[in-house]
C-alpha cells in the first residue's frame, strides 16, 4: 500500500522541510490547519462546490479520434483541464489554498508563477474571495507570457517582475519566499506546484487529485476500462501528480511523466532533472532531484515552455521514479511545437506548450501500440498564453 508522505513530509528520502527559521512556524501552522480541514465535511463541501460551479468541473475526457487515426496506433484521450475556468489545472489548487487562507484569516495572498497560469489562478481566487494579491514572476517570463501578465492585472493583482538570477520561475520562487518571510503573519503563500516545504507537496497533490479521481470514473464510462497509460508533463509536477496519484494503486496503468528536454538532454540546455539524471539536492524547502553544478550551485535551465522551466521537481515524482511506479522521459522544444501544431490542426484545440510536451510523447508512442490501446493525456492547459512564443518561433509578427 502506497502511503506518502510520512508525518514529517518525507517521500522516502525526498521532500521534508528545509526552510529558514522565520518560516518554520508558518509552515507548521499551515500543516496543522490543513490536517484539520482536509477531512472537515464543510471544507470538503465548499471545495467541491467551487470546483463544480466556479471552475466548471468535472472536465471532460475527449477522444482525439482524428489525431489517433493520423498516428495509426493507440487511441489518444485528452483530460480537458484546458476547459477549466482560467484555462488550466492550476485553479484547482488555487481554490483549495484560498479556502484555507480564508479559514486562517489571511487577507493577503502571494504566489510565484512561471507561465503565468498559476498567477492568473491565484489572482482569480483572490478576486473571488476579496483578498489582496501579489504575484512574483521572472522578468524573462513577464516578456514571453505578456497576455497572462495583463490578465493578472485586470484581476486586480500586483505583478512584480523578478530581475535576479535567470529571471524565471525559480527566481520568482525565491522572491515570493522573501516576501513571505517578511509578511508571514498577514500573508498566505499560495504555492503553485506539488513541491516546496511540507505540507505543500501533499496539499497541492490532494487538491489536484480531482483530475485523476474524475478520470478513473470517466475512462470506464468511455471505453469500459482504465487506460493503458496516463501521460502528463512535469515541471514541478502538480498536474502530473494530480492525475497519477489516484492511479498509483491501480495495476496495469503505466504512468509517464514528460519533462522539458529543451534543446536536448545531451545539450545540457533543458529542464529535465529526472530524465537528465540530476543529483539530489535541496532548494525551495525540499530535497529533490535538482539541476546543479558540481559545487551545488543551481544551474540555469531552458525550456520553450515557461511553466516547465524549473531546475527541480516535486518530491513525490522523485520517489515514483526511484520505485519505478512512474517512468520519466523528456520531449524537446521542437517536438513540443510539432505536437502543438498537430493538436491545433487535427482537433481544433490549442494546447499550452507545457501540455504539448505530454501530447508529443503520446504521439511518439501511439504508433508503436495497437489500435485497441488507450493513452490518457492530461491536457493541463490551453495555449492562448503562448501565442507570442509560438509566433516568434514561426517568425511571425503579431
Amino acid at each position: 500500500m502506497y502511503n506518502y508522505p510520512d508525518s514529517k513530509g518525507h517521500f522516502g528520502p525526498y521532500g521534508g522541510i528545509y526552510m529558514a527559521e522565520t518560516l518554520m512556524p508558518a509552515v507548521e501552522e499551515l500543516r496543522r490547519q490543513y490536517e484539520h480541514f482536509r477531512d472537515d465535511p464543510e471544507f470538503k463541501a465548499e471545495f467541491a462546490h467551487e470546483l463544480k460551479y466556479y471552475v466548471g468541473r468535472p472536465s471532460p475526457i475527449y477522444h482525439a479520434k482524428r489525431l489517433s487515426e493520423h498516428f495509426g496506433g493507440a487511441q489518444i484521450y485528452l483530460k480537458r483541464e484546458d476547459l477549466n475556468h482560467t484555462g488550466a489545472h492550476k485553479i484547482n489548487n488555487a481554490i483549495g489554498q484560498a479556502l484555507l487562507a480564508k479559514r486562517m484569516g489571511k487577507k493577503r495572498v502571494i504566489a510565484e508563477t512561471g507561465a503565468g497560469m498559476h498567477g492568473v489562478a491565484t489572482a482569480t481566487v483572490a478576486a473571488r474571495f476579496g483578498m489582496e494579491c501579489v504575484v512574483y514572476m521572472g522578468a524573462e517570463d513577464v516578456q514571453r507570457q505578456a497576455p497572462n501578465v495583463f490578465r493578472m492585472k485586470l484581476l486586480g493583482a500586483t505583478v512584480i517582475p523578478v530581475e535576479s538570477g535567470s529571471r524565471t520561475l525559480k527566481d520568482a520562487c525565491n522572491e515570493a519566499i522573501r516576501d513571505w518571510v517578511t509578511n508571514v503573519e498577514t500573508t498566505f503563500y499560495i504555492f503553485g506546484t506539488a513541491a516546496g516545504p511540507h505540507p505543500y507537496p501533499m496539499l497541492v497533490r490532494d487538491f489536484q487529485c480531482v483530475i485523476g479521481n474524475e478520470a478513473k470514473v470517466q475512462m470506464p464510462e468511455l471505453i469500459g476500462r482504465q487506460p493503458d497509460a496516463v501521460i502528463a508533463c512535469v515541471g514541478g509536477g502538480s498536474n502530473a501528480i494530480g492525475i497519477f496519484h489516484p492511479y498509483i494503486d491501480v495495476p496495469n496503468v503505466k504512468l509517464i511523466g514528460v519533462e522539458a528536454g529543451g534543446h536536448g538532454i545531451e545539450s545540457g540546455s533543458h529542464a529535465a532533472p529526472l530524465t537528465g539524471n540530476a543529483k539530489v539536492g535541496v532548494l525551495h524547502g525540499n530535497k529533490v532531484y535538482l539541476m546543479q553544478d558540481e559545487n551545488g550551485q543551481i544551474i540555469e535551465t531552458h525550456s520553450i515552455s515557461a511553466g516547465l522551466d524549473y531546475p527541480g521537481v516535486g518530491p513525490e515524482h522523485c520517489l515514483l521514479k526511484d520505485i519505478h511506479r512512474a517512468e520519466y522521459v523528456a520531449i524537446n522544444d521542437d517536438e513540443a511545437i510539432d505536437a502543438f501544431d498537430a493538436l491545433c490542426r487535427f482537433e481544433g484545440i490549442i494546447p499550452a506548450l507545457e501540455s504539448s510536451h505530454a501530447l508529443a510523447h503520446a504521439m511518439k508512442i501511439a504508433p508503436t501500440m495497437g489500435k485497441d490501446k488507450a493513452l490518457l493525456v492530461n491536457l493541463s492547459g490551453r495555449g492562448d498564453k503562448d501565442m507570442n512564443t509560438v509566433a516568434k518561433i514561426k517568425g511571425i509578427t503579431l
Binding site: K8, G16, I17, Y18, M19, A20, E21, T22, L23, M24, P25, A26, E28, S164, G165, K170, D171, C173, N174, I177, R178, V181, T182, N183, V184, E185, K279, V280, G281, V282, L283, H284, G285, K287, L290, Q292, E294, N295, G296, Q297, I298, I299
Partner: protein, 266 residues
C-alpha cells in the same frame, strides 16, 4: 575548549560583547577575502561569519544576494572557501570562523567530507540557513563528530518548543534574527528584542548573538546592551560593494572599528 567558546569566555571576563561581522567569501573577488578577514580581526572582530556563496539565497535581501553573485562570477566554490580559511589560519590561530550559507553546496560535497575538511582547515562553526533542526540530525552528527559547532537561528516567530529543541542541538552561540524579513531589511524594534532576550535565556545557556537590521554605531550599541554578541552583515557587505579592490580592506576596517568602539560602551 572550542575557539568559539574560548572567545566568548574571554569576552565575558572582560565584560565585553562580541562583534561578529559577516562577509561573503569571494566578494568582490577571491583574492580580497583573506586580507579582508585579517582586517576584520585588526578592527576588532571577535568571530567572523564567512558567507558561502549560493545561487539562490532565499533568506537574503538584495545586498547579500549581489555579494553572492559577485563571488559566483569568479566561480567561488565551497572548496575554495575552505581554502581561504586554511590561508587565514596560517597567521591567525585564535579568531573563530563560522561558515554561513545554504545547505545545497554542502549536500553536493557530502556532509562527511565537508565536516572533515572544514575541521582540518580550522573552521569552527557552521550555520545553514535552510536546515532547521527537523532536517539537521544526520547532517549535524557529522559536524559534531569533527568538533564543529552547529549554529542555529532563532526568529521572533519561533515557538517555545522550537527554542527548547534548538537549545539541545546548538553549540557555540545562538543567532537571534531580530526581525521578520530577509537580511538587510527594515529597522530594528529594540523594545521587542529587549522583551525577547530574557525569554530566550530561560532556554538557552549559550551566548546569544543578535543580527538583522544593525546599520550603524548607534544601533550596534543599543543591541549590544541586550545580548552577548552583535552580528553585522548587510551593512558591511554594502561597504564592500561601495569600495574598490584597493580600499576595501581599509574602508571595511574603518566601519568595523566604529562598531567596535560603539559596542564597547555597552
Amino acid at each position: 575548549m572550542s575557539r568559539i567558546q574560548a572567545a566568548f569566555e574571554k569576552l565575558k571576563v572582560q565584560q565585553r560583547r562580541a562583534l561578529i561581522p559577516f562577509v561573503t567569501a569571494g566578494d568582490p573577488n577571491p583574492q580580497v577575502t583573506v586580507p579582508l578577514m585579517h582586517g576584520l580581526v585588526e578592527a576588532g572582530a571577535d568571530v567572523i561569519e564567512l558567507g558561502v556563496p549560493f545561487s539562490d539565497p532565499m533568506a537574503d535581501g538584495p545586498t547579500i544576494q549581489r555579494a553572492s553573485e559577485r563571488a559566483l562570477k569568479h566561480n567561488v566554490s565551497l572548496r575554495d572557501v575552505l581554502g581561504m580559511v586554511a590561508e587565514f589560519r596560517k597567521t591567525n590561530a585564535s579568531t573563530p570562523v563560522v561558515l554561513m550559507g545554504y545547505g545545497n553546496p554542502i549536500e553536493a560535497m557530502g556532509w562527511e567530507t565537508f565536516a572533515k575538511s572544514a575541521a582540518a582547515v580550522g573552521v569552527d562553526g557552521v550555520l545553514t540557513v535552510d536546515f532547521p533542526p527537523e532536517e539537521s540530525h544526520e547532517a549535524f552528527a557529522h559536524l559534531e563528530a569533527h568538533g564543529l559547532d552547529p549554529i542555529f537561528l532563532l526568529a521572533p516567530t519561533t515557538s517555545d518548543e522550537r527554542i527548547a529543541e534548538v537549545a539541545k542541538l546548538a553549540r557555540g552561540y545562538v543567532y537571534y534574527v531580530s526581525l521578520k524579513g530577509v537580511t538587510g531589511a527594515g529597522h530594528l524594534d529594540l523594545d521587542a528584542i529587549a522583551e525577547k532576550l530574557p525569554h530566550l535565556r530561560k532556554y538557552i545557556s549559550l551566548p546569544i548573538g543578535v543580527g538583522f537590521g544593525i546599520r550603524d554605531a548607534e544601533t550596534a550599541l543599543a543591541v549590544a546592551k541586550l545580548c552577548d554578541g552583535v552580528v553585522v552583515g548587510s551593512r558591511i557587505v554594502q561597504e564592500v560593494e561601495n569600495s574598490t579592490e584597493q580600499d576595501v580592506v581599509a574602508n571595511v576596517g574603518k566601519l568595523v572599528k566604529e562598531l567596535r568602539q560603539a559596542i564597547d560602551k555597552a
